[in-house]
């Protein structure tokens, strides 16, 4: 099947300024990209006249928790029964795709197999959803971020993450997740400011524990991803050769130098949306601004902006996405990270687009074929009403995302007159 987009402004993701032209999709790949001076012959292709709309690569969400159920607490996520939880994840996966995220990188799930099962269901065509890399639960330590057991209810089933103590327990936990088929194993190397007694400055795993995990994961060809807010945790991750670092709020010259030294391999995904949300948008859910200040969120916000701006200047790849799925930071407004990058981290809009497209393809481990409008690359494309470079906020407006194509197939078809006639019937 072939689809020809004509009369579109092509924002190809690489940093090239948009240009008018046509794009021919054949099967699941982009076969031809033509400037307007060299129109493409449609042949038997379905022709979509873009009428000047922007055609850009599908966005990549680099830190996705499809099983976070828009509850206000980890316990509120964890206590959802398994059956409902799977259906929730399926619903969220579909909506991410329709929102323009044609790829999502799972950053942890709330029960052992949720991510894996959803990835498999997407790949087999059972449910619609983005390209997805499945994560494990968060592996943590007693009392750390993700240990939701209570003193009188110490059962593992009550825990949000998996609690391990010692290298051998770590090895066992990692092996279990690899057995289940995870693409990534998530370690919580640092705390988080909403956890009493385990704030964002704390770092708790022993090097032996992290080394055991790194060894097992490497042996099976999978990836470790880490929650690392503290400076010490960022350094610990880099010491163990871990290449995907979430948050990285607190840094110093040493950790920045360490990051820069491996900038061709390492990705940083800060998930700054949730810091902003906790500070300014969580009152309705019981977190007043004063509480957020008391917990240290303002301090972390300022530190994160400084750290991430420096990383960006040093050429370290910083990607949008992260930690959507809480009541105060709900799913599907993820694209606002792009605006935050421009407003707070010194990105140009073009750099923000590049981060969610070209860098996105790289973080999905498909940097050679995913994330740009290029001949031969995978046909993950968005048709957008407007110019994202002039106004990034249109990327989080469902109505402005006119069409979403994943792997050459429309997940959201462009509206047509005869289709609109049916719209009101349903």
């Amino acid at each position: 099947m072939e689809t020809l987009f004509t009369n579109v402004r092509i924002l190809d993701g690489t940093g090239t300024l948009p240009y008018s032209g046509s794009v021919l999709v054949s099967g699941n790949r982009i076969r031809q990209v033509g400037r307007s001076t060299a129109p493409i012959t449609p042949g038997g292709a379905t022709v979509i006249d873009g009428a000047g709309a922007t055609l850009m690569p599908g966005m990549v969400e680099a830190h996705t928790h499809i099983s976070w159920n828009d509850a206000a607490t980890l316990a509120g996520i964890q206590t959802m029964p398994l059956e409902e939880h799977v259906l929730w994840c399926a619903k969220v996966a579909k909506k991410y795709l329709e929102s323009g995220f044609t790829s999502c990188l799972g950053a942890a799930c709330a029960k052992p197999r949720l991510d894996v099962v959803i990835r498999n269901a997407i790949e087999s065509g059972q449910i619609p959803g983005p390209r997805y890399l499945a994560a494990s639960q968060e592996i943590t330590v007693l009392g750390g971020l993700g240990d939701e057991t209570l003193p009188h209810l110490p059962f593992p089933d009550f825990s949000f993450g998996v609690n391990v103590t010692g290298a051998e327990e770590m090895r066992k936990a990692v092996r279990m997740f690899l057995k289940f088929g995870c693409d990534s194993v998530k370690l919580n190397l640092s705390g988080d400011n909403f956890v009493r007694g385990a704030d964002a400055h704390t770092t708790w795993m022993t090097d032996a524990e992290v080394a055991a995990a790194a060894e097992e994961v490497k042996m099976r060809g999978k990836r470790i991803i880490v929650h690392a807010r503290s400076n010490a945790s960022v350094k610990q991750a880099l010491r163990h050769g871990i290449e995907l670092i979430y948050h990285a709020s607190f840094t110093d010259t040493e950790s920045l130098d360490m990051l820069e030294a491996v900038k061709d391999r390492v990705f940083v995904v800060p998930g700054i949306g949730i810091l902003h949300a906790v500070l300014h948008e969580a009152e309705a859910f019981g977190i007043t601004h004063q509480m957020a200040l008391d917990w240290g969120y303002q301090q972390e916000w300022e530190a994160a902006l400084e750290s991430l701006s420096k990383m960006h200047k040093r050429g370290i790849r910083v990607l949008p996405g992260g930690d959507y799925g809480f009541a105060f930071n709900p799913h599907f407004q993820n694209a606002r990270d792009l605006e935050f990058f421009v407003k707070y981290l010194g990105f140009t809009p073009m750099e923000a687009i590049r981060a969610t497209t070209v860098y996105g393809g790289q973080i999905m481990l498909r940097g050679h074929e995913l994330g740009a409008v290029k001949e031969g690359w995978l046909a993950d494309l968005l048709l957008v009403d407007g110019d994202p470079l002039a106004n990034l906020s249109i990327l989080r407006d469902q109505k402005r995302i006119l069409a979403v194509m994943k792997d050459g197939v429309f997940a959201k078809s462009p509206a047509m007159a005869s289709q609109r006639a049916w719209g009101h019937a349903a």
Partner: protein
């Protein structure tokens, strides 16, 4: 939601009369107007009353109530054994159920009565997800797992693996274990409790044999009633059918082996029970399961051929006595795959001697009480809920058209198109005519 006006359709209204040509107006989730058109009829409503309505010219197509499946197992996963169903992990299993729920609606079943689930909460969760719009599916009544005895139908544990997690059903022994089991399912929110009162030849215990004590059954019914739940029984044996009547078990599945006494009992209480034989299982296990190792020689030895004959005789006798027999049953095995359920109507006509009209009524008007919805569904009548199929062809002439998805032109549930009728013209070029999964125009197939 705009109003929908079907014009120029042949209406089968569920009353048992010959279809008539007319118009049907749907407003909200309700059928608000049914009028005969053509020579000698009063004029159709004026256009002013229909402002904004979507008008569908049926071109003479057959319009009928959505069908009602009386014995549904969403969680049976088209596998050849109970073990293979039971071993599916819960995460995959719930996605499977969601997929099957949509398939039923695709195939024109706008209501389905859950007859048992393969894990404790599957049916309840699917019902809730349909009702809150998380997934699409028919109106649904959720069942428990099958409640059985050690060694009975549904106890798939092995001697060295006795853990309840290995069991297909919920295994109880004694009145108090029964009580606890019923309470657990009531807590989970089921609409009905399923109890296995007889054997099943494929498990080694023939269908003529029975299980459970009268006391256990009594406690099951008592507890279910205390929680406002219905009881449904797997009852192939004569004794088990009689137990259903004696103890007030509303839904009788199978009812293969009857005698005059049993038929008299059923006839005397025919408004208090629903009978759904699930003939598809007997027919296809007997004759069409060879590919899975169950050759006709083997299934004959198991006793299925004898049971099929007995079941047909029982159903014929019940039909003559005016006991209503409902379609559906035990689809979801490898040789009775989901989606082929309308074969039951063909079996009713060919094997039980029903007229096509009776078969159609069994899938529509007779199903309302089975869904606990009385006469609000199963009819094309003013005031009824708008569960409506548009069929290319005449099921009264050829009942098998209902097995063919392409002949089911559209499916409406509760006033909303699940599948809208195809447009004759102005149809956009692909890919819109073949939407990807998840595309907003999910009905345009």
């Amino acid at each position: 939601m705009a109003d929908v006006l079907y014009t120029n359709v042949r209406i089968f209204d569920g009353g048992g009369e010959t279809p008539f040509t007319g118009d049907v107006l749907v407003q909200g989730n309700t059928i608000s107007r049914v009028v005969k058109t053509g020579y000698g009829q009063r004029s159709p409503p004026g256009s002013s009353a229909l402002a904004g309505a979507l008008v569908i010219d049926g071109g003479g197509a057959f319009l009928m109530p959505g069908m009602i499946e009386a014995h549904t197992h969403f969680s049976w996963n088209d596998q050849p054994s109970l073990d293979a169903i039971q071993r599916m992990p819960p995460e995959e299993h719930i996605l499977w159920c969601a997929q099957v729920a949509k398939l039923y609606l695709d195939m024109g079943w706008t209501s389905a009565v859950g007859a048992a689930a393969a894990k404790p909460r599957l049916d309840v969760v699917i019902r809730n997800a349909i009702n809150d719009g998380t997934i699409v599916g028919p109106r649904y009544l959720a069942a428990s797992q099958e409640i059985t005895v050690p060694g009975g139908l549904g106890d798939t544990t092995l001697p060295h693996l006795p853990q309840p997690e290995f069991a297909f059903g919920a295994v109880v022994s004694g009145a108090e274990e029964m009580r606890r089991c019923v309470r657990m399912f009531a807590k989970y929110g089921v609409d009905s409790l399923k109890i296995n009162l007889s054997g099943e030849s494929i498990t080694g215990m023939p269908g003529e044999m029975s299980q459970f004590t009268e006391e256990e059954i009594r406690v099951c019914v008592q507890e279910a009633k205390a929680w406002g739940k219905r009881v449904a029984a797997h009852a192939r044996s004569t004794w088990s059918i009689q137990q259903c009547v004696k103890q007030g078990i509303e839904v009788i599945y199978h009812a293969s082996f009857t005698d005059t006494e049993t038929l008299d009992m059923l006839e005397a209480n025919k408004l208090a029970h629903h009978v759904a034989p699930g003939l598809a299982w007997l027919i296809n296990t007997s004759h069409h399961a060879g590919q899975w190792g169950l050759t006709p020689e083997i299934t004959k030895k198991m006793g299925y051929h004898r049971e099929l004959e007995a079941a047909i005789e029982s159903m014929k006798a019940m039909r003559k006595r005016g006991i209503r027999i409902l379609p559906g049953g035990d689809y979801g095995f490898a040789w009775t795959p989901h989606g082929t359920n309308a074969k039951d109507l063909e079996y009713f006509v060919k094997m039980v001697g029903m007229s096509t009209m009776e078969a159609l009524l069994s899938a529509t008007a007779w199903g309302g009480p089975m869904m606990k919805m009385g006469k609000t569904i199963g009819y094309i009548r003013e005031g009824c809920l708008a569960d409506i199929l548009l069929i290319d062809g005449d099921p009264l002439t050829d009942i098998t058209v209902l097995q063919d998805k392409s002949r089911i032109l559209s499916v409406m549930k509760d006033g909303v198109f699940h599948r809208a009728p195809p447009l004759r013209q102005g149809r956009p070029l692909s890919p819109l005519s073949q939407p990807a999964p998840g595309a907003p125009n999910r009905w345009a197939t």
